[in-house]
């Protein structure tokens, strides 16, 4: 009885929500012209098969996922980001005109505005560790979670590889009607393949080179655990020796935390510095304010390069970042840390 009443309440609510948006013109803002009629299916990162009678055209996407779709010419009607779209590394170079911004802070999505866009698909990464899609995880605003009630949620799976993630969005874009083999879209992938080849070559030329991904903070140093950083796992698979910290934090295994007294616990030949905080003069600045930062020999020798930490979703971005890493590897001295 009670369940039945809830069901009525939900259906009344969804009618009401649908009514809210009825004044809008039908979806024309999504970029693809030749969307197949459907029915449409896609296997989500969670393993669930998402189905719809018609191929979705009015898509709301999380920041990086939106960038991935746009790299195949599919323009979402709405985007929610975890920070300002002007600084989000996925979005800052994209033309977002005509796209509604539904959130610029982690955990906060304007679901009312989202409902008015009448989406027929929400695109968000699947996080296997958290068993949730981006923006709908544990800890976000309860109201934000209602986004999932507006339309089916689908995305590629996060966790082990940026390459797989980019692949997943290529598959999704294709299912939504993108001509992924069109040279103007495929160019990114070609560029990426070339970047990987030169990167592998540079790494192979320095067999002794070890790198460590780090994020120094005022009261301690965070050392990244590649197991939880997909791009670092990719770099390892390309042959780069990214060091694995031996005792990652048990509660938050993304990092091993080192006190500043233990800054020199690891001695890599090259430091990958968390790109979210890295600036050209960061190394000199930290050497000045932290007495033990230069006890890491690579830091003392200024062997540091930005690490594109936890954000990439596209072949294009990965290619651009790989090229920078290739340059750093080429000029690195593989005997600094030993």
């Amino acid at each position: 009885m009670r369940a039945w009443r809830t069901a009525v309440a939900v259906s009344v609510l969804s009618v009401a929500l649908a009514g809210c948006g009825s004044g809008d013109t039908p979806g024309t803002s999504s970029g693809q012209s030749a969307a197949p009629a459907g029915p449409w299916t896609f296997t989500d990162g969670s393993g669930q098969v998402v189905k719809a009678d018609k191929t979705p055209t009015r898509i709301i996407a999380h920041a990086g996922e939106a960038a991935a779709l746009m790299s195949f010419g599919i323009k979402p009607v709405g985007i929610y980001a975890d920070e300002s779209v002007k600084t989000d590394p996925n979005l800052k170079n994209l033309d977002l005109t005509g796209i509604e911004i539904l959130g610029e802070e982690w955990g906060k999505i304007d679901v009312e505005k989202a409902a008015s866009l009448r989406p027929d698909l929400i695109v968000a990464d699947w996080w296997p560790a958290e068993k949730a899609h981006s923006g709908l995880e544990e800890g976000v605003d309860e109201k934000s979670k209602k986004l999932a009630e507006l339309a089916p949620v689908a995305g590629a799976t996060q966790g082990k590889s940026i390459l797989e993630l980019a692949n997943g969005y290529e598959t999704l874009a294709k299912s939504l009607g993108a001509k992924v083999d069109d040279p103007k879209f495929a160019a990114n992938k070609t560029r990426f393949d070339a970047s990987v080849a030169t990167f592998k070559q540079a790494v192979a030329a320095k067999p002794g080179l070890t790198v460590l991904a780090m994020s120094p903070a005022d009261d301690k140093i965070y050392v990244a655990n590649p197991e939880y950083a997909p791009e670092l796992l990719d770099l390892q698979s390309f042959g780069l020796k990214v060091m694995n910290p031996d005792s990652p934090d048990k509660a938050f295994p993304y990092w091993e935390n080192l006190s500043w007294e233990n800054s020199d616990k690891y001695q890599p030949d090259l430091i990958l510095w968390d790109g979210r905080a890295f600036k050209p003069d960061s190394n000199a600045e930290w050497g000045k304010k932290q007495p033990t930062w230069f006890k890491i020999k690579a830091a003392k020798e200024n062997a540091v390069v930005a690490w594109p930490a936890y954000w990439m979703h596209t072949y294009g971005d990965f290619a651009t970042e790989l090229d920078k890493l290739t340059t750093a590897v080429k000029s690195a001295n593989e005997n600094i840390g030993s």
């Binding site: 009261d219 091993e256 006190s259 007294e261 233990n262 800054s263 616990k265 007495p291 033990t292 006890k295």
Partner: protein
């Protein structure tokens, strides 16, 4: 007639007591320099200290540039918080008063956030001064609000004004950091009290204020004793109550402001230590103040050393350790000790 009389026998025990506490503090300080999240042999520590020059080895740098300033800062900040708590409890006649309740932490935080968002400044060395100014501004504001009205800054009005200002400034800080992730990230350094990441520049920056404040605070023993008897009695004894209160607040502002600026909000030391001191030496503030001054840094340094040893190669912030250890201790004092009214 003096305001309070002390049995001669009691005073005879209290003087050596101070010497014992001084010795304990010396031992704890030694531990703080020799123990930590990095394993350094005693001989190496002693060599670094004896040479008094950084020979370039990591162990020597850690000893001289990390642990020594950290320990000195712990001693000064601990002493300052203990004394500030004792003075505040005396002057407000509120056994639960401490600097946090008087708006110090919220004032420091809001000024740091203001510096980040509006002035665009960066760096722990600069924030210290904004935090200091903010802490003092908050205390002045609390005192000014409480002074409105005919009877002046009475204990109850101080408590209410402190709570109100803390809430008001706190919501301002929250409002700003909600919309500015940058400010939130930078503020994180200040949200939990810690002695980590504070080096010689911060120590030498705040030390003059802390030392001056500590010396000045010792002059308040007698007048706090008078206030403890109630305002009317204090006035009857010839004390200028308003002046005493204002001066005491000034000293607390300098002590708590400089401490919070350097280390962030450190809880429990200022609240609990004066009670322990009162338990040891009775109600005479001429003893409570010096006892608090020695007991508090002992507590702070022990908590810090514990935090540095339990999760190596990481460290726990001293604020977290104090929260974990301090809560049960405080409950114990309230439940089993005779918690005399301030």
């Amino acid at each position: 007639m003096t305001v309070t009389t002390i049995a001669p026998r009691r005073a005879a025990a209290l003087v050596p007591g101070l010497a014992v506490l001084g010795a304990v503090l010396a031992v704890v300080a030694f531990l703080s320099v020799t123990q930590g999240s990095r394993d350094i042999g005693l001989s190496e520590v002693l060599r670094a200290l004896g040479g008094l020059g950084d020979d370039g080895s990591t162990n020597s740098t850690v000893t001289l540039e990390l642990r020594v300033p950290r320990t000195l800062l712990g001693i000064l900040v601990g002493a300052a918080l203990g004394v500030a708590g004792a003075v505040l409890q005396g002057v407000t006649r509120n056994p639960l008063a401490d600097a946090g309740i008087m708006g110090v932490n919220s004032g420091a935080a809001v000024f740091v956030v203001f510096a980040i968002t509006v002035l665009g400044v960066r760096g722990a060395g600069v924030y210290v001064w904004f935090a200091f100014a903010g802490a003092i501004a908050a205390l002045v504001l609390v005192y000014a609000v409480a002074s409105l009205g005919r009877e002046g800054a009475t204990p109850i009005k101080l408590a209410l004004a402190g709570a109100a200002v803390t809430a008001g400034l706190g919501s301002m800080t929250t409002g700003i950091v909600m919309t500015n992730v940058d400010a939130l990230n930078e503020l994180r350094f200040w949200q939990v009290g810690s002695l980590a990441g504070r080096y010689a520049p911060i120590l030498t920056g705040v030390a003059p204020f802390l030392i001056a404040g500590l010396v000045a605070s010792l002059a308040f023993g007698r007048s706090l004793n008078g206030l403890a008897l109630g305002e009317d009695v204090a006035r009857g004894l010839g004390q200028r109550v308003g002046l005493t209160r204002a001066a005491a607040f000034g000293v607390v502002a300098v002590l708590a402001g400089a401490s919070t600026a350097a280390c962030g909000p450190i809880v429990f030391v200022g609240l609990v230590v004066p009670h322990v001191a009162r338990f040891l030496c009775g109600p005479d503030y001429r003893w409570i103040l010096p006892y608090s001054m020695l007991l508090a840094p002992i507590v702070l340094l022990v908590a810090d050393v514990v935090g540095r040893l339990v999760v190596t190669p990481d460290e726990l912030q001293v604020g977290v350790v104090l929260g974990l250890l301090g809560a049960p201790v405080f409950v114990g004092i309230v439940r089993f000790g005779r918690m005399s009214e301030a």
